[in-house]
Symmetry: C2
Subunit: 354 residues, 2 copies
């Protein structure tokens, strides 16, 4: 279904991604309504309307969703059951629950990627210490132990080697179901941002190279400097994933690039992504507007990149003096977060090569 | 005073200009609050907060303004007395009442422009039929009779000639105080958009050529095609006006260009302007963001134009099928107005030459 001009788009989640989605929706003349458990969240403060309630409060969620012409989400930890409840009650949710389900659980995610023919690092499920010991042995004596759920920005993971205090490491992660991932000697990280429309049309942005510091994205740089063949393979993999999910909207797929040019998919985000924050400044259609176009059933916009670009995150107190800490000539975006906690994503800058 | 990151900007007026200002403010991490007499106005639906009350309701206006770190306005018919009341009560209003006062009254405006050394068409005040008859004689037997106040988009004006039913024409304008303006045989119209900071720094955008249909802006095209000397004179005049007003924010000055290259200033708008709607797509810093930077006391952004551009308004029902009626490859902005009345400004498109 294609939304009429002026329709109402519901956004589940109230962070900076929701805020930028709401801004893009407003530019297209849509009203937005934000559903978020926290009062005064960044997205709610730019939306026509908002509801403060828990994601698992199904009656509240449903009665909110029924005021919206389409519902989308800005983060991947929305409960799948909640989205299924909305869909079963006749609400239009884009992207659908399948994209969430796969992205929420590292084990499902990696299995799904493999099923799509997209290679990942070796991995083993770890439900207990016995699993961990045998997984370590199978993956060559070391690996990264990650919780299956709720990890982000390097949280919920530990590097472990045979001979370490495995019990302690597993306990540190609350003995949750985990996966042990093979350690990959990558030369760089890249990501693909693909948009998929309700008709199955897909468009990929140019591939950025991503630099992380302490597990948090620090810089995205485009062009990536990787071989054209590598970039093409990354785009092709992301399209296959989006198609297999029947995804509608923007989706990001992160990769490790090995010395020999091999790509290993690392993480899937069923939404707009930090590594695409340079797109509004550098491309004809930015990722936020693109996501809104896709979920509203409107035709996708051109992803033509007009400039070379570099994006950097503003963390914590850096966002209090954004013009001082960003490179000269940058375009600064701030998220309106009320407390500049250390390490918190507060804004970003984009420097384009115009 | 320079606003801290995350400060609250009050916007008086709730139309599309306010909506786009609020969007730009949000991108810079500011909260906005909109004061407007109509419920559910376009700007209120993208603001953190809004108050629905009359512009002349001074207690409501003041108590709202006191929740804001700075107050700005999106249209020039805010009562000057109301703004003076805010300023006298210690509120920061940018631009100040002087910019409003001059722009609200065609007689003051033209007198002020002349005092700045900026030439206008010949004009005479008209308070009654006797004035009208003698003004007509002095201006060569014909002219455009315009109400001193509340005219916009070609409303509140009549073309009159000696021998016409002058009484009828004056009565059509409710026998309000008017000016009679000389009819100018112009070859084209251009405008200057100038931004002025709290420190008095000024930056001018490239000058667009403006085409009107039925008194309403139809297209703005940049570069204008006018001689460099004409554009330079238009910019120089706008800077003189902004300086003389002590203006803070964006200001637009419209001109007629005569066959011999002479410029006559036509209208002053103490705010962002329809003829600058191409700037967000074509320039490093768009006019809305620039206005927010100026009124927040932050440094102005570069006005470098990256592309040639053309902007067209979407009026009435055209905005219901914006992609069908806009030129191929346009970037469409819609204002979220709930009723597509004939002739109403509902959105615009920008086509850039990238």
């Amino acid at each position: 279904m294609t939304l009429p001009v002026g329709a109402r788009i519901g956004i589940i989640g109230g962070g900076q991604l929701g805020r930028m989605l709401a801004g893009a929706a407003a530019r297209l003349g849509f009203d937005t309504s934000v559903y978020c458990p926290e009062r005064d969240c960044p997205a709610a403060r730019v939306a026509a309307d908002n509801v403060v309630a828990d994601y698992n409060d199904l009656p509240a969620l449903l009665s909110w969703a029924q005021t919206c012409d389409v519902v989308t989400y800005e983060f991947e930890n929305v409960p799948v059951g909640a989205v299924n409840h909305l869909t079963a009650s006749g609400c239009l949710v884009r992207p659908g629950a399948r994209s969430l389900e796969v992205a929420q659980d590292r084990l499902q995610e990696k299995t799904f990627l493999s099923d799509c023919g997209v290679q990942t690092a070796g991995f083993r499920p770890v439900n207990n210490l016995t699993d961990l010991a045998s997984a370590l042995e199978e993956l060559g004596g070391s690996g990264i132990l990650k919780t299956r759920r709720d990890g982000y920005d390097g949280k919920g993971q530990r590097r472990v080697s045979a001979g370490d205090d495995l019990e302690g490491a597993f306990a540190d992660l609350n003995a949750q179901p985990c996966v042990l991932e093979e350690i990959i000697p990558f030369t760089c990280e890249v990501s693909t941002l693909v948009a998929r429309s309700i008709t199955g049309e897909t468009l990929c942005y140019d591939v950025p190279r991503n630099e992380h510091v302490d597990g948090v994205l620090h810089r995205s740089i485009v062009p990536s400097g990787a071989d054209a063949g590598i970039e093409e393979a990354a785009r092709e993999a992301a399209v296959r994933v989006a198609d297999a999910l029947g995804h509608v909207g923007v989706l990001a797929l992160e990769f490790f690039v090995l010395e020999d040019g091999q790509l290993l998919a690392n993480e899937l985000a069923p939404r707009v992504h930090n590594s695409g924050h340079w797109t509004p400044e550098a491309c004809v259609t930015g990722q936020f507007e693109q996501h809104i176009l896709a979920v509203s059933g409107w035709p996708l916009g051109p992803v033509t990149r007009l400039f070379d670009a570099e994006m950097g995150n503003l963390l914590g107190a850096d966002a209090l003096t954004p013009f001082e800490v960003s490179p000269q000539g940058s375009i600064v975006t701030l998220y309106g977060k009320q407390e500049a906690k250390a390490g918190r994503k507060m804004g970003h800058w984009v420097r384009t090569g115009f």
